[in-house]
Symmetry: C2
């Protein structure tokens, strides 16, 4: 996607769009668009298609937009991820949207430093911004939903039973566990939990198992969270 439009950005009834600001800079400086060029356009949480550049100068661009395609379907996967440290969180948020995960829960864990919850990256507008970068990369328009679960025990006890009901629930954890299985049966949804650097503690694994999660292993190599996320998503979906 070259240009992902916010819900409030209106097209004229003839499909004419005017852009300025950051989007104009992107068209001029990154895409180096000129009159007559065709670019990929999508609307956040809406359809996508193409745009033909009719006018472009330092003040504005005028684009003739046709939104006639549906975004790709989301993966049948809910991701529960122990909140990563801020530097990694940015990349993880982009990657979650890029991979097509529809629902993300950032959860607390004993090995998540309390300070991580203070990062401005977790502000709504910031999360949306990183998600949009991932969507643009992947040619998708639909923002994942995101939930911040700052307390592990109430989340696992009160929210997880509904969340995993009728679904395949797995927790990736280093150790002598069965290997990560392959894709679920069609229409079967998977809930995948991934711990922090250093892993969930035994008490947390016990609680997740009591909530119906089966531990799985990725083998002898211990992967960073950034590598484990796409690896697990690829195997499970």
């Amino acid at each position: 996607m070259n240009l992902l439009l916010f819900p409030e950005q209106a097209l004229s009834t003839e499909g004419i769009l005017q852009v300025s600001g950051v989007q104009l800079q992107h068209l001029r400086n990154v895409l180096r668009s000129s009159i007559g060029d065709t670019i990929r356009v999508g609307k956040v949480n809406g359809s996508m298609g193409t745009g033909r550049v009719i006018e472009i100068d330092e003040r504005r661009a005028v684009i003739d937009v046709t939104l006639d395609q549906s975004p790709p379907p989301k993966l049948a996967l809910t991701l529960l991820l122990a909140l990563p440290r801020p530097k990694m969180l940015r990349r993880i948020l982009r990657m979650v949207a890029e991979l097509g995960v529809g629902e993300l829960h950032l959860i607390n864990s004993y090995r998540v430093q309390k300070s991580y919850w203070q990062t401005p990256i977790l502000e709504d507008a910031s999360i949306e911004n990183y998600f949009m970068q991932g969507l643009e990369q992947a040619r998708d328009t639909c923002l994942p939903s995101v939930n911040l679960q700052r307390r592990f025990k109430p989340f696992v006890e009160d929210d997880l039973p509904d969340l995993v009901s009728g679904k395949r629930a797995l927790v990736a954890h280093p150790g002598d566990y069965p290997p990560c299985p392959g894709p679920a049966a069609p229409l079967q949804h998977t809930v995948l939990a991934i711990g922090p650097e250093g892993g969930f503690i035994p008490y947390e694994i016990d609680m997740l198992q009591a909530a119906g999660f089966a531990p799985i292993s990725l083998g002898p190599r211990i992967l960073r969270v950034e590598t484990a996320v796409p690896t697990l998503v690829a195997k499970l979906c």
Copy 2:
């Protein structure tokens, strides 16, 4: 792995190791090791095991090392990767070692900027450094082999036939191709080619197909190289 030893770092016949410099700093400042602690130790391209800290101060650490385990086996995968831009290259090198890829060829492509080949990241000592970071993360000791293929056509015409002989050869390319298959049969080796941002050009795809590569697709989402590498490795291995 907490401490990965260079080949030239000798243990005494009793398995006693003295460390100083960067490794000592890592023990003191990152691992915060103190006397009696047990750490994970490995020898580059050799065996791995544990070390007990006997002495540690600002000048040196003395560690009683037992190397009694084999490193995990490498994946049955050779990776051909169009040289990424330098910023991404660092992370890719770490990730290649972390994932257990045994053989990497960084290759040229029409869409690889010539300047990318000038980066100091490609110097031997630098590549080894990033590989070692990946190995330490993954608890492995064996450096991948790496080849720089600065010219596409001679590489494909002269080197690829031997490289793919008897192997499953696949090129990941966006488009209307069959989906990425699952793991190969046991003992079957896979050679996987991944293009640059923007993809291989049609001429390059034609040449790879002529060399026996079958194009495969990851679906409607266009993934960054950093996400595509673990995704493809996970599906194929």
